[in-house]
């Protein structure tokens, strides 16, 4: 079994799920050319939910969450984020991208800018925040991810774990209401995974709506309120973490779990 990289005490007091719908996906389909990568996806995410998406490689996990902020375009069905439907209308896409933060496997920090500039760029240019205020916000989030002393460095001077925490802080500076994570710890050495997961747990404790593609099953058990299992571009099973891990229903899920948990 993958080791849980964090302490068991998690404050669940803020982790309440509201009735409000954050993301609504109905009958969504996507093709890459002739390849049907996402098939009839239906998914409703309430505000405050922490969803972990798991599944074998190539099952379409990344594609699914990248459709939510239109890094990929879907061809059929409907995606509504924060009450705004994703269409070809650039204004809607811009609005949604402001509300949705994303953290990538390879951090994707801007190497030509300092950490502080990485954090203040979008607030200043997209949200039109005054520079002084943007810097204050940036420092606040850098403290939150515990690296305020690195503000003047360049990304290349930081360790992988630090870079990923900066990437999280960069998204948070836009004050998003939803956070998407695409295998945020997969490119990290084991000792750095914990520091990134800790940051994500803190976010969860504050009530952030999170969709997280990850292989960290310990994290899923401790933090998620729902685990979604995908295979071949479809949602095969979803359940609360306890039942998902202890009582999987479908064969694909059982097979996947036995592989990933190493039984």
């Amino acid at each position: 079994m993958t080791e849980p990289h964090f302490d068991a005490q998690i404050d669940r007091s803020h982790m309440t799920v509201s009735d409000e719908v954050a993301i609504q996906i109905e009958n969504m389909n996507k093709w890459y050319g002739q390849f049907h990568v996402l098939r009839d996806i239906d998914l409703t995410v309430q505000r405050g939910e922490r969803i972990v998406i798991a599944g074998p490689s190539g099952s379409g996990k990344s594609t699914l969450i990248r459709c939510i902020n239109r890094l990929e375009e879907h061809q059929a069905g409907k995606i509504v984020v924060d009450g705004i439907e994703l269409t070809n209308d650039l204004k809607n896409i811009d609005k949604i991208r402001r509300e949705v933060g994303m953290v990538f496997q390879h951090f994707n920090l801007f190497p030509h800018l300092t950490i502080l500039e990485n954090l203040t760029l979008a607030p200043i240019w997209v949200r039109k925040t005054p520079k002084k205020e943007a810097i204050e916000t940036a420092m606040h989030f850098l403290e939150k991810v515990k690296i305020p002393d690195q503000a003047q460095k360049y990304p290349g001077q930081l360790s992988g774990g630090q870079q990923q925490r900066v990437a999280i802080a960069r998204s948070l500076c836009m004050k998003p209401r939803i956070m998407l994570f695409d295998e945020p710890t997969s490119a990290l050495d084991p000792e750095m995974i914990k520091e990134v997961l800790d940051t994500m747990i803190e976010l969860a404790e504050e009530g952030m709506t999170m969709l997280c593609v990850t292989h960290e099953m310990g994290f899923a058990q401790a933090v998620a309120n729902r685990v979604i299992f995908m295979a071949d571009g479809q949602i095969v099973e979803q359940n609360n973490p306890h039942d998902f891990f202890n009582n999987p229903q479908s064969e694909r899920t059982k097979q996947f779990l036995s592989q990933i948990l190493g039984h």
Binding site: N69, M102, F104, H112, V126, R170
Partner: protein, 438 residues
């Protein structure tokens, strides 16, 4: 040794080692020679051949350089002096031509009493590019940079001040139009601004300039383009071409990557056509063909025409260099910019181009250097470039008939100095950016 000891841990260090200095470098001249010039039989052979080649070259030419004559007013006088001093059959350089005609190499046929104008323009060039090129130059000077081209044109060509002022005003108006229209789409804003500016320049500038000049006659003595020559011409074309080809190259590179079919097609055709045609062809187009297409009576300056075509030529190459830089960026940079909500133009300006241009610096500067040297090709359309136009003119004078090497060496040396400076600057810039980002 007891059993228990052997069974416990395999090895534990009880004292840590202090760092020791690295072994003394095996250095010295002999060592260096052996390692670099005589490390094997092939290397030794090449070294000997190299020395022989250098010896042959130097022994052939050193006399010519050594016997150089500075104080002479004609080639015949030069030869006389050399024969008198070094005997029959001695050869020598006749630098007298440079002393006698240096002003034509530098200024062409610019009126000598107005030399201060090109000199001032040249000095101000450094004030204008300083804040762009060097970090230690006060950033406040940057306001001067956009004003400089208009000031330079006015100083070099003279005439009424209103012409350059109105042309500059065209840019300001284009910006206002752009700002207004770009609310409905950036591309549309560009197009509207550009069309507005071109119409204004074609039909608004000259009548307005005449009116303003009649009301407030402000001006300096005009100098026509035919008087330009030598390095004044080369540097004017080179600096103008460099300043305009970089932005045009960036736009073409982005255009070539655009999702919009028309823009992409236009960019591809432009780049491939211009790169596929020799520069001289374009220069002939500038000098001959444009005359047919332009409305009769328009006086479209030959230097401006040539500058536009040289710019287009360099821009096509720069576009391809920058495309390489764009392709080298990981896709994650675009995705991160998108995910943060930056629109296309902001993402390009703040994230993509700074990185792509940094990668492209060596290629861009190579293109600049090539273009600067290519300005000598304007000799083919009857302009007096420093390498052929001016020396031909000087040789037409009986006093200097038959002088060949000296002008070439002199002009070549100046080109080398200027281009070498550009090359060193590019290396300095690369290093500075490397230090910044790592």
């Amino acid at each position: 040794m007891s059993d228990t000891h052997a069974q416990t841990v395999a090895y534990v260090r009880d004292t840590m080692l202090d760092p020791k200095p690295a072994p003394a470098n095996q250095s010295g001249a002999i060592q260096w020679l052996r390692e670099n010039l005589f490390s094997g039989w092939l290397n030794t052979l090449l070294t000997v051949l190299g020395i022989l080649a250098i010896y042959g070259f130097v022994s052939h030419f050193y006399g010519w350089f050594l016997h150089g004559v500075w104080n002479a007013n004609s080639l015949a006088e030069c030869r006389q002096i050399i024969t008198d001093q070094y005997g029959q059959g001695a050869t020598g350089a006749c630098w007298g031509v440079i002393r006698d005609r240096w002003h034509q190499f530098i200024f062409g046929f610019y009126p000598p009493e107005l030399y201060w104008r090109p000199i001032l323009t040249f000095l101000l060039l450094f004030v204008a590019v300083g804040p762009v090129l060097f970090q230690w130059v006060p950033k406040k000077l940057i306001w001067f940079t956009p004003a400089y081209p208009f000031l330079a044109v006015w100083l070099l060509w003279g005439g009424s001040v209103w012409g350059p002022v109105l042309v500059a005003l065209g840019f300001v108006l284009a910006y206002v139009v752009f700002n207004f229209v770009s609310r409905f789409g950036t591309i549309g804003g560009f197009a509207a601004g550009a069309i507005f500016a071109i119409l204004f320049w074609l039909f608004g500038v000259s009548p307005l300039a005449e009116m303003l000049h009649a009301a407030i006659p402000l001006g300096i003595e005009p100098v026509e383009s035919a008087k330009f020559g030598g390095f004044l011409l080369a540097i004017t074309l080179g600096a103008g071409g460099i300043a305009m080809s970089l932005p045009l190259g960036v736009i073409l590179a982005l255009g070539r990557q655009s999702d919009m079919f028309l823009i992409r097609t236009f960019s591809v055709i432009f780049i491939e056509f211009i790169r596929g045609v020799p520069l001289i062809t374009l220069l002939f187009v500038a000098s001959l063909l444009l005359n047919y297409f332009l409305p009769p009576g328009t006086n479209f300056d030959i230097i401006l025409r040539v500058m536009i075509l040289v710019t287009m030529f360099a821009a096509a190459y720069i576009a391809e260099v920058i495309r390489g830089g764009l392709a080298a960026l990981p896709r994650g940079q675009y995705e991160a910019a998108d995910a943060l909500g930056l629109d296309y133009w902001k993402a390009q300006r703040l994230i993509i181009l700074p990185q792509a241009l940094k990668i492209s610096i060596p290629g861009i500067v190579s293109t600049f250097i090539g273009m600067f040297k290519d300005t000598t090709l304007v000799a083919f359309v009857g302009l007096f470039d420093p390498l052929k136009g001016i020396p031909d003119f000087i040789r037409a004078d009986f006093a200097w008939k038959g002088i060949y090497w000296e002008p070439f060496i002199f002009v070549g040396a100046i080109f080398f100095i200027l281009n070498f400076a550009m090359s060193r600057y590019s290396m300095y810039l690369e290093n500075r950016l490397k230090r910044d980002h790592r």
